[in-house]
Symmetry: C2
Subunit: 247 residues, 2 copies
Amino acid sequence: MRVGELSRSSGVSVSMIKYYLREGLLPAGERAGAPNQAEYGAAHVRRLRLLRALTEEGELPATAIKQVLAAVDEHRPLPEALGIAQDAVVAAPDLEDDDRPAETFVAGFVARRGWRIDPDNPGYRSATRILTTAHRLGFTALAGLLDTYADAAYTIAAAEITAFIGVGPGSGDGLETASAADTGHRHPGRPREVSREQDLESAVTGIVLGEKMLSALRTMAHQHITLQRLKPLPAGPASGDSAAPPP
Amino acid sequence: MRVGELSRSSGVSVSMIKYYLREGLLPAGERAGAPNQAEYGAAHVRRLRLLRALTEEGELPATAIKQVLAAVDEHRPLPEALGIAQDAVVAAPDLEDDDRPAETFVAGFVARRGWRIDPDNPGYRSATRILTTAHRLGFTALAGLLDTYADAAYTIAAAEITAFIGVGPGSGDGLETASAADTGHRHPGRPREVSREQDLESAVTGIVLGEKMLSALRTMAHQHITLQRLKPLPAGPASGDSAAPPP
C-alpha cells in the first residue's frame, strides 16, 4: 500500500508517518516503480499502531521509543528488553549523597522481601529518591505504606508477566522459550503462535499501558472511596468518631 | 530569614526561588528594611520543599502545580482538592467517537464494582482511552487484567486515603473533620495537630509521591519475577513445561 492508505489503516497522519521515517522509528517502505513512491505492508501498520500507543498513551519521548524498538528489533533477551522498556517508562534519578539513608532503607526492604534487584533498576533508584523527598517533607505516611504498595505491586507484576509475556510461575524455561518461539514451539498455555518480536512487543506494550491503566484505576478508586467515606453527617454534634474510630 | 538562607534551608537554588516567586507559586516575603530585601519564614521553607517534590519527583508542569497549590491555599473541600490533584497527575484525554465501545465497557466495569465515579474523573477517561488503544493493537491481554488492577488499586487507594488524609473506613465524618481541624479537634487516630492546609498538602503530596512509589515497586517486582521465572535451564531438551505448565 502507498503512504495514504498506510495513514488510513494506522490512524497516523501522513506528516507523523514522515516524522517517524525521518527519525528511523519506522522502517522505510519498499521502493515502488515511480520515484519518491514506496510500498508499505502489514508490518508497517503494526509498527505505527505501536508507535502511536507509546507516544500518545505512554507519553514516551522519541529517544526512549527508539531504544525500546531497537530492543524489539534486535531480538534482545527478554530480561534485557524488559529492562530497556522500564528505563523508558520509569525515570531513574542519579542518587546523591543525601539519598544514602533512604538507599540503605530500600536495600533492607528489598532484602527482607527476598527480591533480587539490580541497584541499577530504575525502580530501585526512584523509590530511594522518593523516600528522601518524603523524609525532607516530614511526610512519614509514605514509608508506612511501603508494604501495601509492594504487596500490590508484586501481585500486579506477577499477573502481568504471565499475561503479557506468557511466562507463568514455575515454567522456569523462559530463555529456552525465547528460541523455541522462533521454531514455532509454544507454551501449552499460549493461545496463538507468536513470533519472538511479537513477544517483545507485547511485553513492552504491557509495561507501558499497564502502568497507565493502574494509575487510572487508582484515581477512580480514590474518588469512590473519598465520596464513600466523606458522607456529610446530618446537622448536630459530630459523633461518627466514636462509632468506628480510624485505625 | 533572607533569600540565601531560605535557599540553604529548602535545598532550592536562589534562581529557582526567584522563578517560583515570579510564577506566583511562592508567596512574596515580608518587606524588610532595605529595598529589594524580603524576609522569609518557616511557611516559605515548607512551601519550597513541597514545590520541589511536585516538580522534581512528581514531574508536574508549573500550570498543574499552580492549580494544586491554589486548591490548598483556598482551603477547598477535600474531594474537590483531591480531584484537582488527580487532574494534575493523570492526563485526562478528551474522548472521541472511536472511544465509545471502550467507554461502555468501562462504565459497565465500574457499575459492576459498585464504584461511584464521575464521568469527568481523569482516571475514567484515561482507562477508556487505554482500552481503545489496546483494542486497536489487538492487545487483548490488558482487558483480561482489569480486575487484577482494580483490586490492587482499591486496596492501595483505601490505605492511602486513611494514611494521607486520616479518613478511615467508617469514620463518615470527613466534611465535619475539615472544619474540626481548624478548631483543633482531631481524630483520635491522628498523631499530631495539623491544620486544614496541612491536611490538603498531605493529600496532594501522597497522591503524587504514592503514584511514583507504586510505579517504582512495580518495576522492581517485574525484575525480580522475571529473573525468578526465567532461570535458564541446564543444556539439554527443554523439560520445564511439563513439571509445572503455566496457567
